[in-house]
């Protein structure tokens, strides 16, 4: 059955899954919608987990996308605490861990990604803290009061946000970063350096080019760590933020094309035209990239889900949004717009010393990405410039007096 009465089944209740529901109903979809998620809670927002929620706690209900009423009013069948175990593509049916079989006309896969585990002996594995779900953070919060020394493995956004929060709480924090600089995948060397200095100034001890050689458990419940640099460290809490892998299990088992992610086309369709996919688990050819990529961000999840909903509602929508993401560390708000891979020139506006600056990244004369530190207005303007394909001249980019929004009005 096609059209707006199609039965839609969504696997995964993160940002993409929720957005798909909301956009389907707003787009006039009247058919049944079912949402499946292994987490027994109502779908909730992830970004505050490593930021405000970790620091202040707060009522977990404030993280919900919507209250239970919404799903009732919108006639969405929730299967929470239940996993999808198999896709029967031939019969267009989804098998669930509770034994149910859900028939679908359109299946939407938004499974997200799985934490990459730190390799440690089996008896310590379940003592390592990760930062992904609300339960992970609740577990950390429950231990935090009794903890003095924290070692974080991983120098990406998650590890560094956690480090900043832990410093605010007065903990001793050391971060082990395998690579030569922090946030290597996502920002320029100059920005890595700037933030490294800020972490140092806030008392966070970051060790670059350092991994974990061995970990052992102490009698008092803490850990002894030997680093690859030959140093010994002790800590009460060991947190790993060393990346994620796309959750492609269900898709692969069903024979859908996967290549470091579930492969989708511009309309977010998998190799089976009745099955869509969105979010962290998806690999696709973004129009701003020259190869197939995967993007782990709220924006990507939300915008792809909107495209899927529009397509199910009968439009011909394609995904071409400018990627953007952000990170909060101490008093610094880092915002990245565009895809910076392949840049060959950086133009800076504002001084590093002021703690507020913008980096315009160019490939030739084309602006491909903009990274800002505490300049959110530049970030918003940059997203519009990138979407419109407008590249300011290098001198314009550097000039504080050149209003970025005015370049849009041409």
């Amino acid at each position: 059955m096609a059209g707006n009465l199609a039965r839609v089944v969504i696997v995964g209740g993160g940002h993409a899954g929720f957005q798909c529901i909301d956009s389907l109903r707003k787009g006039g979809h009247e058919g049944p919608i079912a949402l499946i998620d292994g987490d027994p809670r109502l779908p909730y927002q992830r970004p505050p987990l490593s930021k405000g929620y970790l620091l202040e706690g707060a009522d977990p209900d404030t993280l919900l996308f919507r209250t239970a009423d919404y799903y009732r009013e919108q006639s969405v069948d929730l299967y929470l605490g239940v996993r999808a175990t198999r896709i029967d593509r031939e019969n267009r049916s989804l098998e669930l861990s509770n034994g149910d079989h859900l028939a679908y006309d359109r299946l939407v896969l938004t499974p997200g990604a799985q934490i990459r585990p730190l390799r440690v002996p089996e008896d310590i594995a379940d003592r390592i803290c990760y930062i992904k779900t609300l339960s992970d953070i609740d577990r950390i919060r429950a231990q935090l009061a009794a903890v003095r020394d924290i070692v974080i493995v991983g120098g990406g956004f998650i590890g560094l946000e956690f480090a900043a929060t832990a410093r605010k709480l007065g903990k001793r924090v050391r971060v082990l970063v395998r690579g030569p600089r922090i946030m290597q995948q996502n920002v320029t060397p100059a920005l890595s350096r700037f933030m490294l200095e800020q972490h140092a100034a806030h008392g966070t001890d970051i060790r670059l080019a350092t991994g974990v050689e061995t970990v052992s458990r102490r009698a008092d419940g803490g850990f002894d760590i030997l680093t690859t640099a030959g140093r010994s460290l002790s800590c009460d809490m060991l947190v790993a933020g060393i990346g994620v892998t796309p959750d492609t299990g269900l898709a692969e088992q069903a024979g859908l094309e996967c290549d470091d992610g579930i492969v989708v086309d511009a309309r977010c369709r998998t190799s089976d035209p009745g099955i869509y996919a969105a979010g962290d688990a998806v690999a696709f050819a973004h129009p701003m990239a020259d190869k197939r990529i995967r993007i782990e961000s709220v924006q990507n999840a939300v915008d792809q889900a909107r495209v899927i909903a529009a397509n199910i509602c009968g439009e011909q929508a394609a995904y071409d949004s400018v990627p953007w993401f952000w990170s909060d560390q101490y008093e610094f708000k880092l915002q990245m717009a565009g895809l910076h891979e392949g840049y060959d020139r950086v133009v800076q506006r504002g001084t590093t010393e002021s703690g507020k600056f913008t980096l315009f990244l160019y490939k030739g004369e084309m602006l491909i990405a903009v990274h800002t530190v505490n300049r959110p207005a530049d970030h918003m303007a940059a997203r519009k410039l990138l979407a419109a394909g407008i590249s300011p001249g290098f001198d314009q980019a550097a000039d504080e007096n050149c209003k970025l929004n005015s370049l849009l009005e041409r």
Binding site: Q45, R46, P47, P48, K51, G52, A58, D59, T62, L64, F65, R66, T67, Y70, V298, Q299, V302, W326, D328, K333, Q335, N374, R375, P376, A377, H379, M380, A381, N405
Partner: protein, 106 residues
């Protein structure tokens, strides 16, 4: 629980009770009030929860951060003297009955 009244650009009023400590953005989004998006989940990074706060309550609001001030420069709806980002307004007893007007577009 204290009340907040959201008025959309066409004048439609929605009255909600929201818990102390919850932001006006969260209250709106969670209850499906049209006209507030909150793309960044309330971290003051996106300016999609712009609202106009009724004058009577302006004095009770927390002071604006530099980030919020800058973001308000880039909103789609025109910035007025009573423009705020609703993710930066936490519900409190003294805000009971607060009226916020929402722009046509975020």
């Amino acid at each position: 629980m204290p009340k907040v009244i959201y008025v959309d650009f066409q004048g439609n009023r929605s009255e909600l009770e929201i818990a102390n400590g919850m932001t006006l953005m969260q209250g709106a989004v969670m209850n499906g009030i049209e006209g507030i998006e909150g793309e960044c989940s309330g971290s003051c990074a996106c300016a999609t929860c712009h609202c106009y706060v009724d004058e009577a309550y302006l004095g009770h609001l927390p002071e604006m951060t530099e980030n919020e001030n800058e973001l308000l420069e880039g909103t789609i709806g025109e910035r007025l003297a009573n423009s705020r980002l609703s993710c930066q307004i936490r519900m409190a007893a003294e805000l009971d009955g607060i009226v916020v007007h929402l722009p046509e577009e975020q």
